[in-house]
């Protein structure tokens, strides 16, 4: 049985986001910075009368440049949490059979659950549950501006 993913570009990297978890794809949205916040959660956006934490995926992906001002924002539901993921671009949803997913090598990150080739690009599958667990402090710590995983 295939799974559906939304390909999203972060800098030069392509990521796969579980498509059913994506509530909406919006453009660049104004957000409010939290003073002295960790790079992973720099602030919030307002979405449908909710304050939604901005999660900078680059804080978890070595080699990705920090930057919350990106052209697209994915509003994603993970368990009881709603988070906003700024990305540079998205494409149409893709369907990937399980046998096409490999152990991640290109992106060495604790939130990468696999990788596969889609549309000529190597794409890393993001484990949204692991991401939220890390944000909630249940698994290690996230890096600040000058730390590396």
């Amino acid at each position: 049985m295939t799974s559906s993913f939304l390909p999203a570009k972060l800098d030069t990297m392509w990521l796969l986001i579980d498509a059913p978890a994506v509530l909406e794809v919006v453009g660049a949205v104004p957000w409010l910075r939290l003073p002295r916040a960790q790079r992973a959660v720099p602030g919030v956006v307002a979405w449908r009368a909710q304050a939604v934490p901005v999660v900078d995926l680059s804080a978890f992906i070595p080699g990705a440049a920090a930057g919350e001002a990106r052209a697209r924002t994915l509003i994603v539901r993970v368990g009881q949490s709603t988070i906003a993921l700024p990305v540079d671009a998205v494409t149409e949803v893709v369907h990937v059979p399980p046998e096409a997913m490999r152990i991640p090598h290109a992106v060495q990150s604790e939130i990468a659950a696999g990788e596969t080739d889609v549309q000529g690009h190597l794409m890393a599958l993001i484990d949204l549950d692991a991401l939220v667990r890390r944000l909630a402090g249940e698994e290690g710590s996230v890096r600040s501006d000058d730390e590396r995983l």
């Binding site: 910075r33 939290l34 959660v41 909710q50 304050a51």
Partner: protein
């Protein structure tokens, strides 16, 4: 006892007293504020200073003390630079999600105020400020630590 900023009609919105920091702006519900005085005229207990946590600019003048009440206790919070009153529609006050409140300066914020359709102000939580002040008072002073070494 009446506060210094009684709103004429709550249906018109929430009246906030706001001031700016280096990276974000903050507010307290004006209904919680008893008075605003120049720091030189403050005759109460130690003034709370959140300039480090909230990244406030301590060089700004004037320095005022916002007196607010939590339970039976009156507290003074230092604010640097201009303070202003603003009215925010009830629908433009959004609860801050736990993911934000669990970390960094987020522990002091309660709501997010939207102004002109964009997130603009962090509305501080008087109870959280009070809890932080109580925790600080409970800590032994540096002198005590030195004497015990």
């Amino acid at each position: 006892m009446t506060n210094a900023f009684d709103a004429p009609d709550e249906s018109l919105g929430c009246l906030l007293l706001a001031w700016s920091g280096r990276t974000a702006s903050f507010a307290l519900d004006a209904a919680a504020i008893e008075r605003v005085v120049d720091e030189r005229d403050w005759g109460g207990a130690d003034v709370l200073d959140l300039s480090e946590a909230l990244d406030l600019d301590r060089s700004l003048e004037p320095v005022r003390v916002l007196e607010f009440r939590v339970g039976d206790e009156r507290l003074g919070l230092r604010a640097f630079g201009a303070v202003r009153l603003c009215t925010v529609a009830p629908g433009d006050l959004l609860d801050v999600p736990p993911l934000i409140r669990a970390r960094d300066a987020g522990r002091f914020v309660q709501r997010l105020a939207m102004l002109e359709g964009a997130p603009a102000l962090w509305v501080l939580d008087p109870d959280a400020i009070h809890r932080d002040a109580m925790a600080r008072r409970a800590l032994p002073s540096e002198g005590v630590l030195e004497r015990t070494q």
